[in-house]
Symmetry: C2
Subunit: 158 residues, 2 copies
């Protein structure tokens, strides 16, 4: 039963379940970076400042009472997320392949199991300049502000 | 500079840094499941209800303003964490080897990248009955209650 609406990705609202769903639960990992019982969605439902990004919400869409959400994002070769800023932080953990983050004017390489902390208010974009998919966990606060798009960055610049 | 004391593992207080440390930061993954710049500590500094558990705090000990902490735990073959209960949740992600969780009377197998949500108030223990190390991320709320030890469980029972 729908209880409230939160933001599961940076801008995509999803319905969360009531607290009756706040129970012990195992999400087994499956082939091809999927988790049993978890849907694959697009990163956002609108906007043209991103490309080739898929999203799975592992913790946060089933009524869990945690103060954080856990998501898995996968960026196709050549894909990129929005270049944006917000007050909440990101914690990114590389899981599949490798990719990069643009943090304001700094470029950071993200390899397997590297842990990246993105500070509040830092304009940022995750992107994949390589030939294989780039997959990562992203942990965020459950309650968070809506991102603001940052102009003046395109993939020719990163 | 020390600002406050929080609980980085379930019972181990660590000094957190001031907000000047709340900056973009990459922790590169290294050989042998270590992260550059991150110390390896024992799971707890006291108690005799656990064995062979090491802890690394990846997010939460450096003044980050996140509402969550990210830790990596590694349990040696035959090792186990305390059997305990608390009001806060755990999110566990298998990263190295395989292991098990005892959730009240239920036993759950945790393999690579499986995601386990442990509900508030569930008595639980993580343990490793296998021949190789069992490593996992554990995400918790930054502000959380102190665990209570639960009697009546030993490794012969699990």
């Amino acid at each position: 039963m729908a209880k409230s609406v939160r933001y599961s990705s940076c801008e995509t609202p999803v319905k969360t379940l009531s607290k009756t769903a706040n129970r012990n639960r195992l999400c087994p990992f499956q082939d091809n970076f999927r988790w049993k019982g978890v849907k694959v969605n697009e990163y956002k439902t609108d906007g043209d400042d991103w490309s080739g990004v898929a999203r799975q919400v592992l913790i946060g869409a089933s009524g869990e009472s945690t103060k954080f959400h856990l998501r898995y994002f996968e960026i196709k070769p050549g894909g990129y997320s929005s270049f944006e800023t917000h007050k909440h932080e990101h914690v990114v953990i590389g899981i599949q392949g490798r990719g990069r983050a643009k943090l304001d004017r700094r470029i950071v390489e993200i390899n397997y199991l590297d842990v990246l902390y993105i500070n509040p208010e830092t304009p940022h974009r995750l992107y994949n300049p390589y030939d294989d998919p780039f997959g990562f966990f992203c942990i965020v606060n459950a309650r968070r502000d809506r991102p603001k798009s940052v102009k003046g960055c395109n993939l020719q610049e990163v």
